[in-house]
Amino acid sequence: MAAQAPARRTLRRLVTAVAFALTAGGALAQTSILNVSYDVSRELYKDINPVFSAQWKARTGEVVTVNQSHGGSSKQAMSITEGLEADVITMNQSPDIDILLERGNLVAADWRKRFPHDATPYTTTSVFLVRKGNPKGIKDWGDLTRAGLQVIVPNPKTSGNGRYTYLAAWGYALDKTGSDAGAKDFVTKLLANVPVLDGGGRGATTTFTQRDVGDVLVTFENEAILIAKEVGGAKFDIVYPSVSIDGSAPVAVVEKVTEKRGTTKVAEAYLNFLFSPEGQEIIASHNFRPRDPAVLKKFAAQFPAIRTFSVDDKLGGWKAANAKHFADGAIYDQIMVNR
């Protein structure tokens, strides 16, 4: 644990060495780009990459390989600031891209303006997964604070999924009570019902579905649909609350790297592909809500309409929300320490 920083540096050198060896050996003029992403987008990009490569080859005659790297989002972003040569970064919350701007100007200052929809090709939202038949009658956020109920959420300190859940509950309560004090009171009651805080969204899924802990799992819609599909709809139901949070997934070209590597064009094309109808369909098939209205309509059965609010609109943006809720000693810590 203690030797993490130097270990990372060594790893970086190793990666550079390998990359160097690959470039040196790449007399075939083969281009490769690296997509550094968060944890649960692995399957999505596994499907996206070959389709993009085929399209790029048909258009330009150039062979491009897209490599992917996945892990906890902050860790991934941090490795880029420390020298991991990512051509594009695809995350599930914007602070993990903003940090690239703050620490080394690796992305354009106006990265949000470079692609449609504030550079977010898809979105998801926080929903509830309950045991079959909804035995506890959970319908909305208000039900989660009931005494004796067990709510499973990932740790907001270590998981973007958990942070969205926390903010979704906060936003709901802000509407209901009209004050920060009311919202804090509500979220305090909700968190009092949380028996386990898993490090990430997938861990929370396992706790709820495999370990049989909890009455309700609050997680991203894509994760909930995946569980319903894979573990079987026979055991769980998805419940949509009256209102939830808009979890848009931002993307950016790491320009400082692509300019050096001469991959800016292909990196841009890659991200643009995510917004194309073809890319949007792959995205929708992975249970993320596509931006393209036609594609969304096609998958309408899978994505019921739900009223959402964004972090920017209701909570003053990620920067303010992080400082107010998740920084050390901020509201989340206060609630948990006095629990």
Binding site: M1, Q4, A5, P195, R211, D212, V213, D328, M336, V337
Partner: protein, 278 residues
Amino acid sequence: MAATKTFRVLPGFNITLGFTLAYLSLIVLIPLSAVFLKTTSLSFAEYWHVVTAPRVVATYKLSFGLSLVAAAINSVFGLMLAWALVRYSFPGKRLVDALVDLPFALPTAVAGIALTALYAKNGWIGQYLDPLGIQVAFKPLGILVALVFIGLPFVVRTVQPILEDLDTELEEAATSLGAHRWQTFRHVILPILLPALLTGFALAFARAVGEYGSVIFIAGNIPMVSEITPLMIITKLEQYDYAGATAIATVMLMLSFTLLLIINGLQAWTSKRTGRDR
């Protein structure tokens, strides 16, 4: 006093010492000093604020407390295991002997997931404990189970060779001189084993303090209740707070080092007392 020239297999004191220092520096000291260096970006007041936050202090108590308990449990049962493996022969002994090392080899995350699956209230073991009101998974007790699991081989493997060297004649002599079983154990066997047992204890303890992978799955990770110190470090890293993370790391390092120093001191003292000083 004339210095007695003793023959040594490896060449020269200067070379070996030089190599030892260089190697230790490269592998241990340089990475660790980087940790301390990173904290220098904090003022002392900030540093103190980070490392004494109530939530962080709660994790020290849990991590170090449970690690000591786990090491103690392993010392007792590890000794028994080693005893059985050395003194008796039974079918499948080699298999059991190999099984002891399994916690060494298993990726810790695998251990954590397996233990959680076992001890959750729908698991093989958990389903029988749950009606008794005993919850293991997602409670501090679960952390203890994980730490006992990963620490077991250390005690067995340090005590085993000493036991193998221990002549049964010593025990027979004690018995023929009229010692009870307990007296033989207490006054003949234990003093000889104690230094090795302490080493095993120290290793198991050190391993437990730093353990992250297996614990994180079974702990539940509730602030003030079941968060371990390594999780606090990871949490800080997630927030891009490298200085804060290393600050906690330095406290862990210093605490661990102090405790290991004490245990090593104890070991030297017992060695001397039993006349096995080298």
